[in-house]
C-alpha cells in the first residue's frame, strides 16, 4: 500500500478556501456595517484625532439561515454519564429569562471587531451621498519647490550616506578583488570587509516644483448659553465630516477653531467642543477674529479657505449690521462659507433668525455661501450633501 503525500496532489494548491470564504464573509459584514453607517457614526466619537485613526465596531458573525423548528419551551437531548431522573446537571440562572453571559453553545456567540479606517468611512459616505469632489481655487494653486530623492553619487553630505548601498559596493569590490587573488577558491570573508572612500554612496536630492494644494478651514462655533449639548454635537458632526471631505481634496489642511459668546477666542481642537460661556451672543466678534486669523496666517490668495459657522441663530440685535459687514467680508475672500443653524424641530420659529437672514442676504448677492438647518442626525448628511454639491458647482 502506498500513502501519498498531499503535496504531490497538485490541485490542493488551488485552495486556501477557508480563509478565502472568511474574507468574503468579512466583506459582507463590512457591507452590512456600511449600510448602517450613519447610525453607527452618530454614536461614535470621531471628531478628534487625525484621519488615519480607525474605529472598531463590534459585530456578530453573519448567519446563513436555515429552516428550523421554533424552540420548544423545554428542550430535550440525550446525554450520558452519572445521573438519575430529577438530578440537576446545571443550575438555572436566578432571573429566568435574560440570556446568560457565557451561554456560548450556540452559533454566532463569538463576536469580533471590524476595524474601519476613518478614511474608508468617509469614502463610503462620499459614495453613499454621491458627493462630488471640491474644486480648489485656481489662484490658490502656486508652485512650491520640493526636494525629492533621486539617485546616488560618490560625494555628498555625510547625513545622506546610504549605508546599505555603500556596503553593497564594498562587498562587490571585495568579491572581485578576493576572486582575483584566490583564483576561484571559495574565500568566505572571515575578516570584516574594509571600506574605502570609493565605496561610499550618497543619496542625491533634486529640487522639483510641485503644485501646492493647501487649505485652511476655519470653524466658528457659538458657545453661548443658548447652545445646548445636543446642538453642539450636531455642529461637531457637521464640522467633522466637512473637514473630512476637505481633507480628501487637499494634501495639506490646516484648521482653526474659534468659539464665541460675547467675545471670541481661538482654541485648539481638543478644547474646542468643551468650551462654553454663559454670555450673550455677538457674532461680529468671531467674524472679526476669523478675518484677523486669515490676514495673519492664511492669506486667501495662497490658501483655499473654508469658513464654517454654527450657531442657533440668535444674535444680539445691536450687532446686526456689524456682523453683516464682517461676514460679508469673509464670504468675499474665502472659497466658501457655510452657516449651519442648530435647533430642535420643536423650536417654533415665526421667521428666520437674524443670522439666517444675514446669510440669506449674502447668498442672494452671489457669494459662495450656504445655509443649512441641523435639527437631527439626518440633517447632518443633508447639510454635507448640500455644501459639497454647491461647492463643486462653482
Amino acid at each position: 500500500m502506498t500513502i501519498r503525500l498531499a503535496a504531490e496532489t497538485p490541485w490542493y494548491d488551488l485552495f486556501s478556501r477557508g480563509a478565502r470564504d472568511w474574507l468574503r464573509h468579512n466583506e459582507k459584514v463590512r457591507d452590512a456595517v456600511k449600510d448602517t453607517l450613519p447610525e453607527l457614526l452618530s454614536s461614535a466619537d470621531l471628531m478628534t484625532g487625525n484621519g488615519s485613526r480607525t474605529v472598531a465596531v463590534p459585530v456578530k458573525f453573519l448567519e446563513h439561515a436555515r429552516l428550523r423548528l421554533a424552540d420548544a419551551s423545554t428542550q430535550q437531548g440525550a446525554g450520558q454519564g452519572r445521573g438519575e431522573p430529577g438530578d440537576v446537571l446545571q443550575p438555572g440562572r436566578e432571573d429566568g429569562n435574560e440570556p446568560g453571559q457565557q451561554g456560548g453553545t450556540g452559533d454566532g456567540e463569538i463576536r469580533f471587531m471590524v476595524e474601519l479606517k476613518l478614511d474608508e468611512i468617509v469614502d463610503w459616505l462620499w459614495e453613499e451621498l454621491k458627493l462630488p469632489e471640491l474644486k480648489p481655487k485656481r489662484t490658490a494653486t502656486m508652485d512650491q519647490a520640493e526636494y525629492v530623492r533621486e539617485g546616488w553619487d560618490k560625494r555628498g553630505a555625510r547625513s545622506r550616506l546610504d549605508r546599505r548601498r555603500t556596503m553593497k559596493e564594498a562587498v562587490k569590490r571585495h568579491a572581485i578583488q578576493g576572486n582575483a587573488a584566490a583564483n576561484g577558491s571559495v574565500a568566505v570573508a572571515e575578516e570584516p570587509i574594509s571600506l574605502v572612500n570609493d565605496d561610499l554612496r550618497f543619496r542625491q536630492l533634486v529640487k522639483r516644483p510641485s503644485p501646492a494644494t493647501s487649505a485652511a478651514v476655519i470653524f466658528a462655533l457659538d458657545v453661548s448659553g443658548s447652545m445646548d449639548e445636543a446642538q453642539r454635537r450636531l455642529a461637531k458632526q457637521f464640522f467633522f465630516f466637512a473637514l473630512q471631505g476637505i481633507r480628501r481634496q487637499y494634501a495639506k489642511v490646516e484648521t482653526v477653531f474659534l468659539a464665541h459668546a460675547a467675545q471670541a477666542w481661538e482654541f485648539d481642537e481638543s478644547q474646542f467642543f468643551q468650551a462654553s460661556s454663559s454670555g450673550g451672543t455677538v457674532t461680529s466678534s468671531v467674524a472679526r477674529l476669523a478675518l484677523e486669523v486669515m490676514e495673519k496666517r492664511y492669506d486667501p490668495a495662497r490658501y483655499n479657505v473654508y469658513f464654517f459657522y454654527a450657531s442657533d441663530g440668535e444674535n444680539a440685535a445691536e450687532d446686526r449690521d456689524e456682523a453683516r459687514s464682517a461676514l460679508a467680508e469673509i464670504a468675499g475672500q474665502v472659497n466658501y462659507s457655510g452657516y449651519c443653524e442648530t435647533g430642535g424641530v420643536a423650536t417654533f420659529r415665526p421667521r428666520d433668525t437674524q443670522l439666517a437672514e444675514i446669510f440669506g442676504e449674502l447668498k442672494t448677492t452671489g457669494l459662495a455661501v450656504g445655509t443649512s438647518h441641523l435639527a437631527s442626525q439626518d440633517d447632518v448628511w443633508n447639510a454635507i450633501r448640500e455644501f459639497f454639491t454647491e461647492q463643486s458647482k462653482e
Partner: protein, 452 residues
C-alpha cells in the same frame, strides 16, 4: 517504504483475512490546514460560500482551544479516499488506517451508501471538485453577488431533498393521463350495432394539464431547479450540484452512529490481532483509541451529548458478542441509525452506558428527565429525522408563477423559527423571482403564512 506504509499494508492483509470487503482505499497524508478545511466543507474541494468561512473560523477557534482534533477523513467511493493527518504519530495513523478500513467496509456494504453509490458513481471527491470549478466559472461569468444569491438559497435548502427518492428523476408528466372510457355495458355495445345511428364522434377534449406539483414535493432543490419560472441554466445547474452533494451527505448523516461504531469496532479488533505491531506502538494506538471512544471528556462525570463513536462501538461489540460477526454484517447491510438504535440499543445497554434524557428549561436549568429506553432512543434520533430539518414541501405552483411552500407543523410538533424562516424565504424569493409564501404555525400552533 515508510514504517507507516509497512504497517498499513499488513493491517490491510489482516483485514482481508478477517473477511472485510471494501473498494480499494487511496490514502493521502495531508497537512493540518487541509484537514481543517475538509472538516469545514465536508469535502476536500467544494464550492465557495461565505457561510463556510464562518464555520472555518469556528473550527479554528475550537481547534486552538483543543476541543477538536481531527484524526482522519474518509470519502466512500470506488476507490475510497482517505486523508491522514501528517502531524499525527505513527501509532495514531496506524489506528486511523484500520479505522478507515472499517468505514470502507461499511460504505461498500450498507444499502443506503450502496444506493447513493449506484446513483452518483463512486467519485464524490472529483465530482465536488468539478462542481467547485463550474461555480468558479459562473462567478467569473456572472459576478460573485449573483452566484452567491443562488448559493444562499440552494445551500439553505441543502437538507431538503427527498432522501427516499432518486437522484436522477424526470419532470412530472405534463398532462394528466387520458381517462379510459368506461367499459361498455352489454346494452351499449348492442345499441351501437343498431343500424341507422352514426356513432357519435368522440369529443376532442384535448389534453388536461397536470397540476404542479401533483403531490406535495419534498425535494425542494429538485423542484426549484426544474420549475422556477425564471431560473437561468447556470443557476439551475448550481441547484442540482448542491443537490447531488446532499445525496452524498445523506447516508453519512443517517448512519453516523453505526458507521463510526463499525469503524471503531474494526480498528480495535485489527490492532488487537495485529501481532506485528511493536508493543509500545500498540499501546499508544490503544491510548488514542480510548481517547476517541469514550463517552465524555476526561475528568468529567456527564456529557450532554452522545459520542457516536462510543455508542456505536458499544452496540456493535454487544451484537458481535451475542449474535456473532455474521449477524453483525447483516445489520451493517440493512440498517441505518434509526433501525440500529431502535432494534439494538436495549435497556441493559443503555443502563450500562449510563444514557439518559435531559431537559433544558427556560432559565437554562438542565435536569435529567428520564431513563426510559424509548425516550432515550427518541432523544438520540430526534435530531436525525428528515436529514435534521423540518418537513417542508412545495405545495402549489400557481399560474402567475407564485410558489407556496408548506411546513408539516402537525407532524413536526411545532412551527418554524420565524426569523430564520423569513430569511430563507428571502433567499428563495431571490431565485424564484415571483412571490413565494410559506405556511407554518406560530408559537400558539395556529396556521400562519410568511411571504416574500
Amino acid at each position: 517504504m515508510t514504517e507507516l506504509e509497512d504497517y498499513a499494508g499488513r493491517i490491510e492483509a489482516l483485514a482481508q483475512r478477517l473477511g472485510m470487503d471494501y473498494y480499494p482505499v487511496d490514502f493521502e497524508m495531508a497537512p493540518a490546514s487541509l484537514m481543517t478545511e475538509i472538516a469545514v466543507y465536508g469535502l476536500p474541494v467544494r464550492m465557495p460560500h461565505w457561510s463556510f468561512g464562518v464555520r472555518y473560523i469556528h473550527q479554528l477557534v475550537r481547534q486552538s482551544m483543543g476541543h477538536s482534533k481531527i484524526f482522519e477523513v474518509m470519502f466512500p467511493g470506488d476507490p475510497c479516499r482517505a486523508f491522514l493527518m501528517d502531524g499525527n504519530s505513527i501509532a495514531e495513523n496506524a489506528l486511523v488506517t484500520a479505522h478507515v478500513l472499517g468505514h470502507a467496509d461499511f460504505s461498500k456494504n450498507n444499502q443506503l451508501f450502496a444506493r447513493f453509490h449506484a446513483m452518483a458513481g463512486g467519485n464524490i471527491v472529483e465530482t465536488a471538485a468539478a462542481h467547485a470549478h463550474r461555480i468558479q466559472l459562473a462567478i467569473e461569468a456572472h459576478g460573485v453577488e449573483r452566484v452567491e444569491s443562488v448559493l444562499d438559497a440552494a445551500l439553505a435548502l441543502e437538507a431538503h431533498i427527498d432522501v427516499g427518492g432518486e437522484l436522477h428523476r424526470a419532470r412530472y408528466p405534463e398532462f394528466l393521463a387520458p381517462q379510459k372510457a368506461p367499459a361498455e355495458s352489454q346494452f351499449q355495445s348492442r345499441f351501437r350495432q343498431l343500424p341507422g345511428t352514426a356513432a357519435p364522434t368522440a369529443q376532442k377534449s384535448g389534453q388536461i394539464r397536470a397540476p404542479v406539483p401533483p403531490h406535495p414535493e419534498y425535494d425542494l432543490l429538485w423542484f426549484i431547479a426544474h420549475y422556477a419560472p425564471e431560473l437561468e441554466q447556470w443557476e439551475r445547474d448550481i441547484f442540482l450540484m448542491v443537490r447531488t452533494e446532499s445525496f452524498y451527505f445523506y447516508p453519512v448523516f443517517a448512519c453516523q452512529i453505526m458507521n463510526e461504531g463499525w469503524a471503531s469496532y474494526w480498528h480495535a479488533r485489527l490492532l488487537r490481532e495485529a501481532d506485528f505491531l511493536p508493543q509500545p506502538l500498540y499501546l499508544s494506538a490503544i491510548k488514542a483509541h480510548s481517547d476517541v471512544v469514550r463517552p465524555f471528556a476526561s475528568g468529567q462525570q456527564t456529557a450532554l451529548a452522545i459520542n457516536p463513536y462510543h455508542l456505536g462501538f458499544t452496540i456493535w461489540e454487544r451484537i458481535v458478542e451475542r449474535h456473532g460477526i455474521e449477524r453483525a454484517r447483516e445489520v451493517r447491510r440493512d440498517e441505518d441509525d434509526f433501525g440500529f438504535i431502535r432494534n439494538f440499543l436495549d435497556e441493559e445497554l443503555a443502563k450500562e452506558a449510563g444514557l439518559f434524557v435531559y431537559e433544558t428549561r427556560p432559565g437554562d436549568e438542565i435536569r435529567v428527565a428520564s431513563k426510559d429506553i424509548s425516550a432515550i432512543r427518541e432523544a438520540i434520533l430526534a435530531p436525525k429525522f428528515n436529514f435534521g430539518s423540518p418537513r417542508v414541501s412545495a405545495a402549489e405552483l400557481k399560474h402567475d408563477g407564485s410558489l407556496t411552500l408548506a411546513h408539516d407543523y402537525a407532524s413536526d410538533g411545532r412551527g418554524l423559527e420565524v426569523n430564520r424562516a423569513k430569511r430563507v424565504l428571502d433567499y428563495v424569493h431571490r431565485v424564484w423571482r415571483r412571490p413565494v409564501k410559506l405556511a407554518t404555525a406560530n408559537d400558539k400552533n395556529e396556521a400562519v403564512e410568511l411571504a416574500a
